[in-house]
């Protein structure tokens, strides 16, 4: 039993003899409980940074080998004082927005179709399996050959990276529709279109959003690797050049930028997910 579950099954008790004891109810968690994840999370990050800083301060290794968090922070500030940074961010941002946006539109469409129409799935399964089992970055040289070293090869890699998790999860969502709900819809004579819109689609939302979230990770990987290999501008390019020229703190600052983007997008998706899940009783 995890600690979280143990917490949950603790009986809600009040001791009559102790009037100062606050009544706790299942419906309203106490303030402290609400902020618990944030507080503990922050503390643990601080702890990790402190340990890292202390180890770096001991200077057993050189800054080149093991920069401390402070070095990285300074490099981060410097990074934003350079003129090129905004061009780099704009370039990477554009690649990401186009590649990931296309993956969402096409992945969602194909996933829904494959989930709903079995024959469609039979037809596309071999391709989905082939591309999903292949590390998509192996296509980079081919894309460079076809598209040159402008944005297109990177968009293609990002797109292919994000596409398959979205397709596969969307399809799983449609397939996982409860049989009992489908039977109810059929019993009341619902048309296929209505069943799809009112039963299948809403039930798939959590799966779809999970696909989107996994897609972000794959998209960022694609972005960095593709820019590593060939690019004029971009955050991945910053990291590549900085590591090749032994500017380790700068490379790590680039990593922080990428990771921050990933975390930000993931958080946004989490928020959307929670909005769609407001019908779930609040047990955390």
């Amino acid at each position: 039993m995890s600690i979280k579950e143990a917490d949950r099954v603790l009986p809600v008790t009040t001791r009559e003899s102790d009037p100062t004891r606050e009544r706790r109810s299942v419906l309203r968690p106490s303030r402290i409980r609400m902020y618990e994840p944030l507080v503990i999370g922050t503390l643990s990050v601080f702890f990790a940074l402190t340990v890292w800083q202390l180890v770096a301060n001991a200077r057993v290794y050189s800054v080149l080998f093991l920069p401390g968090p402070w070095d990285v922070a300074q490099a981060f500030v410097q990074l934003f004082q350079s003129d090129d940074i905004w061009l780099d961010i704009a370039t990477s941002g554009e690649e990401l927005a186009i590649g990931y946006g296309m993956a969402i539109v096409i992945g969602l469409t194909l996933g829904l179709l494959m989930g709903w129409y079995t024959r469609f799935q039979f037809g596309l399964d071999p391709f989905v399996n082939f591309f999903y089992s292949t590390p998509r970055i192996v296509f980079i040289p081919l894309f460079i050959l076809w598209f040159g070293i402008e944005l297109q090869p990177k968009i293609a890699v990002i797109f292919l990276g994000a596409l398959f998790p979205i397709i596969i999860n969307t399809m799983a969502g449609v397939r996982n529709t409860e049989a009992a709900l489908l039977r109810v819809a059929r019993s009341f004579g619902a048309s296929d279109a209505l069943t799809f819109r009112r039963v299948v689609l809403p039930g798939s939302v959590p799966f779809i959003l999970t696909g989107f979230r996994l897609g972000i990770g794959h998209a960022l990987t694609g972005l960095v690797v593709a820019e590593y290999i060939a690019a004029k501008h971009g955050v991945g390019q910053i990291i590549a050049i900085a590591s090749q020229t032994f500017q380790t703190p700068k490379a790590l600052a680039g990593v922080v930028l990428i990771a921050g983007t990933g975390m930000l997008l993931t958080t946004v998706l989490h928020r959307i997910e929670n909005r769609f899940q407001s019908w779930r009783p609040q047990i955390r």
Partner: protein, 273 residues
């Protein structure tokens, strides 16, 4: 022999399942003969697995029949229709919809009512099943009994000619179940809809029904029919009435016979070694 005025008439109904694993047909129901009169509440009891749910699904049009005939108002049943509505054993509510949203789902699926009319009527229906004040609650915030009321209200809102109920109260505790039985009778006496009610609970069957039909073991067919001559309206005290207990004994014996029957006698055409 068959009453022309019957609402539902089943003659020699056979229902089979195709078992993919053993690539064979499996007969769940074999030769059901029964009829339900207009405005009648008919209960079916029988051993577990004898094909009660299977039969009810066929009446709803969810399953095809392999033999015999199954007619509603003289017309062959082929698919689900507006003249029937099912109250499922598992409530089958959309978890992301509120009580109100779930109650209107039936008429929404049928496309027979404007949205505003559906909502206005659904509110009355919710009141009728005793859920006033819970219109905006989500299913996961309701007790099992309340979920079943939503299930019932959804079926009632479609205003079917025939109500099909598959052990709707089986999952409830004894007190809630009795309360729901009382409520169902109240609603039924107001609307007098023809109803086919399946249950495991002999007392429940006698308390609610005009007639109780006992099914044999699988493959199910009608074993006997018991007319319940108890005056209406019935309150819960009637369950201790001597006449009630006589019915209960009769039906209990009948089911016991089925359960006690040696298995080899059920395999038709195979003589004992």
């Amino acid at each position: 022999m068959y009453d022309r005025s019957a609402k539902l008439a089943a003659k020699g109904v056979v229902i089979e399942y195709w078992l993919q694993r053993s690539r064979s047909l499996f007969t769940a129901v074999k030769g059901v003969d029964l009829e339900v009169r207009p405005g009648e509440l008919l209960a079916i009891v029988g051993p577990s697995g004898c094909g009660k749910t299977t039969f009810l699904n066929a009446v709803d049009g969810l399953l095809p029949i392999a033999g015999g005939s199954l007619t509603l108002d003289g017309r062959e049943i082929r698919k689900p229709g507006r003249d029937r509505a099912m109250v499922f054993q598992q409530p089958g509510l959309l978890p992301w919809r509120t009580v109100l949203g779930n109650v209107i789902f039936g008429v929404e699926a049928q496309g027979t009512m404007s949205k505003s009319e559906a909502i206005a009527r659904a509110k009355q229906q919710i009141e009728l099943v005793g859920l006033k004040g819970f219109e905006d609650a989500y299913p996961l915030e309701l007790s099992g009994g309340m979920q079943q009321r939503v299930n019932l209200a959804r079926a009632l809102l479609t205003d079917p000619e025939m109500l099909l109920l598959d052990e709707p109260f089986a999952a409830l505790d004894a007190q809630t179940r009795e309360m729901m039985q009382l409520e169902l009778l109240k609603i039924w006496s107001q609307t007098r809809k023809t109803a086919l009610f399946i249950t495991h609970d002999i007392k429940e069957a006698i308390y609610l029904a005009d007639r109780v039909i006992v099914f044999t073991r699988r493959p199910g067919r009608v074993k006997n029919v018991v007319d319940i001559n108890l005056s209406r309206p019935r309150d819960l005290r009637i369950k201790r009435d001597p006449q009630f207990l006589t019915y209960e004994d009769e039906i209990w014996e009948s089911i016991q016979e089925e359960l006690a029957m040696p298995a080899e006698r059920l395999i038709a055409g195979i003589p004992a070694a």
